[in-house]
Each structure stands twice: as structure tokens, then as C-alpha cells.
């Protein structure tokens, strides 16, 4: 039916530098592919220039990121059909009037991260947020939700907003962050408002020789691949329902172009999941020796280190370290090293496109054959089979 008309001209007002916005756009693309709806999409490299002239633009509809107050303002009186995308608000009066709004559920995003930290057996919690600024109302929403959750649970609330990301210089902000971290009673689970903040926090911990996750367990928000790539300790992160937001926004606009009135429609999309990685895998340990040893193994375990080097780092004899490991973890240091290498290998097999031989090297196995032998012995499956299983499972959907 649609093909008899010329395609609708649709502007996507998003900041494609943000992972969140890119994923929403991907969701819009999924919707178009699933319906064979044809839209001419207008997506500017500098989206702000588009915002300024938007009232003169000759198009049929707009999907826009309303977290940016400039965008929200420019479109408030638009004559074109507009679908807004952005963060959820606890106070419903903060939503734009007469515009359909697709929201990421900030409350549930925070809840998912917080519950995960509780599940790790942590006794206390803190929040690393952002100072208020135009365009980050979502940060305040998340912070307030976190505070309310802790108050409901009768927990003490500790919130640190730090410095704005660009101001004050890197050294200064890390120094202050370390000072805050050192003052926190430990162990502590910290929920960070974004992965960018979480990455900064992990880095500060490593600089200050604070073990992650034994002393500070960290959860971020966004599941941003860039932050993952740049973090020494793999980051646990809450995944927002971004693609579903894009699909929903496209669906509403599609219907509006056919004459439907959705001015009062609001769809709040729950998070898509939590990617659990090492930064939050907190296991309460009693021996500080074991804690330090595992901290070392997590950082250098894939560089082919041996029990001896771990003992050197911790500053005790091999025998003493083995004794501590046996008592605390019911395994030898060698087994702990092997376990770390295998976990890293599984992670890379499941989520990277690296060749098997490279994965073996990266995980500190002396040869591909050795990785095969150990992998088979421990998991009763070859690395290749494991990779195949996960590839099919990870291609978005089950086979």
C-alpha cells in the first residue's frame, strides 16, 4: 500500500555520538526492515544544526531525543507529527504535553543494578552520579530512585556526583574520586549513572589499589561497548531497552502518518538485561591475602604468570599462599589461574570475532592445542563448539 506514495521524509534528531541514541536508531531500522515501510531518513552529522532550522524543513515526521532540552524546545510547537524518545520521569507533569513519548524506565534500570549488587551479598551501597546539567535530567531521576530504594530498605545512602566530565581536569577529578572511595566503608557496591562514570571509577580504584570487585563492586548503565573495551576489569552494566524504544517510536510515527492520534500515548520500556562481568562478581572473602592474589590474577592472569609470581606480589611464600587458597577457595593457585584464563576464553569465544589461535594467546595459554585440551576437560566441549553455540545464541535471538 505504502509503495504507491513517494516515501515519507522522516528526520531523526539524535546525537549519534551517544551509544544510547545509536541503539534507538538501530531499533527504528529494525522496525522499517520488519514492515518494508519505506522512509527517507534524514540524520545529520551535526544534529544541532538541524534543530535550529527544523521549522523550515519540508518533511513528514520527526523522531527526536527529548533528553536534549534544545530539541524539546524546538519541537514543542512543531506542526509535523513528532515522536519523543527519552528518559522516564517519576513526576508525570515533566513529560512534554501532546506529544507521544517513548521512555527508558529509569526506575527499573536503577532497580536492576541495585538488586544485582544486593544479590552479590554486599552489605552497603553507594551511587556515583553526575552534577546536574541541562540535558541530564535522567541522571537526577536515577539518583532519586536509588536514594528512595535505599531508604525503603533502611540503608544508609551515600551519593557522590563528582565533577562535570570536562571541567577541572582529569587529575583533579580522579584525586577527588579516590578520596571519596578511600573514605567509604568496604566492601561496598557502587551503582554508576553511566558506563563512562563506571569506567572512571574502576580506574580510580586500580590507581588507589582498591580491589574490584572484592572491596568495591561496580555496576554501570548503558552496556557501552566502548567503555567495555577501555576498562581493565570487565564492567557489569545494565542494558536499557533502547532498540525496543526505537521500534516503538517508529511504530507510533508510522501510525500517525496514516492519521492515528497518539498525542496522549506514553510507552515506558523496561531494561533489556544486565551484562554481568567481573566488576560486580563479588564473593565475600575473609583472607586479605587471597583477595590481593585474586586482584593480581584478574589483572595479569592472562599474561602467562605462575603461582610463584602471585606469591611474590602478595608477599608470602608459595606454600603459605597455597594454604590460604585451599582454606578459602578450596582450590590451588594454579586452578584459580586456569579458571581465570578459561573464563576469559569463554568470554572472548562468545563475544569477539577473534580467531581461536589469537584467543589462546590472549588468554595466556601456551598453545591452541593446550587450550583445546583444558577446555574439553573442564567443559566437555571444544572451544569451537562453544563458539558456535554462542554465536547462534547471540545473533540477537535464538536459532
Amino acid at each position: 500500500m505504502e509503495s504507491t506514495h513517494s516515501p515519507h521524509r522522516i528526520a531523526l534528531l539524535f546525537n549519534a555520538n551517544k551509544g544510547f541514541d545509536r541503539e534507538v536508531i538501530a531499533g527504528i531500522g529494525q522496525y522499517l526492515n520488519s514492515t518494508r515501510v519505506e522512509w527517507d531518513l534524514f540524520l545529520e552529522e551535526d544534529f544541532r544544526s538541524r534543530v535550529q532550522g527544523i521549522e523550515r524543513w519540508r518533511g513528514d515526521g520527526i523522531i527526536a531525543d527529548f533528553d536534549d532540552p534544545q530539541v524539546a524546545q524546538a519541537l514543542a510547537a512543531s506542526k509535523l507529527p513528532v515522536v519523543a524518545v527519552g528518559g522516564s520521569y517519576r513526576d508525570a507533569s515533566l513529560y512534554p504535553a501532546h506529544i507521544p513519548y517513548i521512555a527508558t524506565d529509569n526506575a527499573k534500570v536503577v532497580q536492576l543494578g541495585y538488586r544485582h549488587l544486593i544479590d552479590q551479598g554486599l552489605p552497603r551501597f553507594a551511587y556515583y552520579g553526575l552534577p546536574p546539567a541541562p540535558g541530564n535530567a535522567w541522571a537526577a531521576e536515577r539518583e532519586t530512585t536509588f536514594i528512595e530504594l535505599l531508604q525503603t530498605d533502611g540503608m544508609e545512602v551515600t551519593v557522590y556526583r563528582g565533577l562535570p566530565t570536562s571541567a577541572g581536569g582529569w587529575d583533579n577529578s580522579v584525586e577527588q574520586l579516590i578520596e571519596w572511595l578511600q573514605g567509604l566503608p568496604k566492601p561496598v557496591g557502587i551503582l554508576c549513572v553511566t558506563d563512562a562514570r563506571a569506567r572512571q571509577l574502576v580506574q580510580a580504584c586500580l590507581l588507589a589499589r582498591i580491589a574490584v570487585p572484592e572491596q568495591v563492586a561496580v555496576v554501570g548503565i548503558d552496556n557501552d561497548p566502548m567503555a567495555q573495551l577501555l576498562t581493565r576489569v570487565p564492567l557489569t552494566s545494565v542494558m536499557q531497552g533502547t532498540e525496543e524504544m526505537g521500534r516503538t517510536a517508529a511504530h507510533l510515527l508510522h501510525q500517525m502518518l496514516r492519521g492515528a492520534d497518539h498525542s496522549a500515548t506514553r510507552v515506558v520500556v523496561p531494561p533489556a538485561g544486565i551484562n554481568v562481568q567481573a566488576s560486580s562478581r563479588h564473593q565475600p572473602l575473609r583472607s586479605p591475602l587471597v583477595m590481593r592474589a585474586r586482584h593480581y590474577i584478574r589483572q595479569y592472569g592472562c599474561l602467562g604468570i605462575k603461582t610463584e609470581q602471585v606469591a611474590d606480589y602478595v608477599g608470602v611464600s608459595r606454600t603459605a599462599l597455597e594454604e590460604h587458597f585451599r582454606r578459602e577457595l578450596k582450590q590451588t593457585v594454579h586452578q584459580a589461574l586456569l579458571q581465570h584464563k578459561l573464563e576469559t576464553a569463554r568470554e572472548l569465544l562468545a563475544h569477539s570475532a577473534l580467531p581461536l589461535a589469537d584467543i589462546a594467546v590472549r588468554c595466556g595459554f601456551t598453545s591452541l592445542q593446550y587450550m583445546y585440551a583444558v577446555f574439553r576437560r573442564e567443559f566437555d566441549i571444544t572451544p569451537k563448539q562453544f563458539q558456535a553455540q554462542h554465536r547462534s545464541a547471540a545473533s540477537g535471538n535464538p536459532p
Binding site: Y31, S34, L112, D119, E244, T248, V267
Partner: protein, 354 residues
Amino acid sequence: MTTPLHPTATASSAMPWGSLLDGRKVHRWTLRNAQDMRVDISDLGGSLLSWYAPDRQGRLADVVLGHADPESYAQAKGYMGAQIGRWANRIRHGSFELDGVGYKLDRNQNGNLLHGGSEGFHQALWQVEPDGDGLLLILHSPDGEGGFPGNLDVQVRMALADDGSLSMDYQARCDQASPVNLTAHPYFNLGGGRGDIRDHLLWLDAENFLAVDAGLIPTAQESVAGSAFDFRRAAPLGSRLNWPHPQLSVAGGFDHCYCLGDSPGQPRKVAQVCDPASGRRLSVITDQPGLQLYTGQHLADSPNRDGGHYRPFDGLCLEAQAFPNQINSASAEQVVLRPGAVYRQHTRYQLDTY
């Protein structure tokens, strides 16, 4: 890795579970597997009473909804966990014609037959026998029960495997031609009751579903493409329930049958549900042509196990079956069981974590 309590799947012997108002005694059996999963099954309705399964942290919780006691199962209207027959889902006006003979059935919902009528298999006391690592559930449905023709003998073998799958293998024989459509009706909440199913993500491998009229009788096959019904990519139920769609208004949520493509007869994975908070994941594998998705919008009056009531969207059902009202359609012959033939169905629910 903790050492499993039970190295391989096992089935317990019968345990007394109380009695009904009419004095009949009811029992429960327990299946276990190497992951410490535990499934309780009753002879009352062949019901799945509970399914304890580990979350991402290895903690066990019950992932199916249930009532407190046998009498609640006998009284309640939600078909909770029950085996459903002789006809699962609806038959328009409770009537059909077969080989030139018209039949009148029990009209127990809005003038239509639902789930075998008020005397359906969910109300029966099944005969249960341990069978190796599983249980054999046996039922005789006499000629004329609910208005259906012929003596029907049904058996369901239920077994819990070490991979976390609960399989149901159905067989039925009848001494007269009769429509037969069997299914199971567990309500899943993968969070173990922490949160409702609107935060669950559903993937469902179907390109079409059956649109329904106000009585929830199918009227036409519709494409899911680009609609709230499109789960070919996993999507949270919470957002889809808020997409505008006249069919969602008709049913107050999802209560629709999906058409599972063109390879019925072969068991294949047709649906998957993920709960981000607990990390539990449910897969549905079946050889049936249809899968009814019901999001539990009418749960409000249904008693829970703690003396209170469930709320709408506390659980969701994925019922593998033939198409609703198929006996009154052009493909009626596919759902008729004739003397000498055997009805077979294989469906399994599999639980794991991700």
C-alpha cells in the same frame, strides 16, 4: 560448582496432599534433577503445582503460579498449571459437526466452550504412576463427557531432565471420531514472584497470529509484522502491552494464538522468555502448529499461595496446541482423532539461566 543433591533425575512416590470437599483424596509427586530443580505434580487436574529452579546466583525459587490447597484448585477459574482437554481453548457456540452429526458441548465461557468445559481434564483426578525418571498420568474420559463423542483414553508422560527440561509426551486413543486438542496451562513468572511478567522479554518464532472477535474466537490470520504482536526479535511484554492495537483492547492484553510456521509435527524451539533480573530463561519446544500467548490479565481474582490474590500480569502462559475453534474450520479434519489412530504431542518447557 556445588554438589547436586540428586545426581540424576528422579521421581518420588505419592505423597498425600489433602482432600476435596467431596472427600476424594488428592496426592502429589515430586520430580528432581541434577541441578536441584524440583517439580511438584498432582493427580488433581494433572497439575504442575510448583517448579523450583535456580536463578543466576543458584538460588531456587518457584517459577510457576499456584494456589494454596487442593480445594482452591477445584474452585478457581484460572486453570492454573492444569492439563487441558479434551479440547484446549475455545469452540464457537460450543458446537461442531462431524461426519454429518451435530454435537452440543458445554458452553462455559461467553456462550463458547473453553478448555473442555466445566468437566474438563483440569477438574479430573488422574491416575498417576511413577515411570522410571518420570511420571505417567492416565485419564479415561467417557463417551459424552462435556458433550464430546467417544471413550477417550489419554496418557501424558512427564519427566524432568538434567538439562532443566520438563517434557510432556501425550498419547490418546478414542473408540469414536472426536475432536482432540490437548495442552498444559502453567503460568510462569521467572522472577519467582519478584516483579511481574511485564519486565520479561519474549521471543516468539511466528509470522502470523489469529485475530479474534469479542468472544476470543479467531476470525482471521494476520501478519505480526510491525505490530505489537511481532516478537520475532525479543521484546519486553511491558512495552508491547502499551502499543496501540485493537486486538490488545479486545482481549485486555495478549490472549491470542500464534501460527508456528509450516513444520508442525517436528519438535522445534518456538518461544523463549528471559527475565533480566533473575537471569532465568524459559524455552518452549513443541511439535504443535499453534502457541497461545496469554499474559494473565484476568488473574486479579485468582487466589495465590499466601492467602491473598494474584494481580493482573503476575504470570504468563504459553500453551502449545492446535488452533482455537479449528474443528469449525476448513482444516477440521486435522484435529479429529479417529478410532484406530493415535493422537500424539511432544511439548517441553526448558529452564536455564543466562
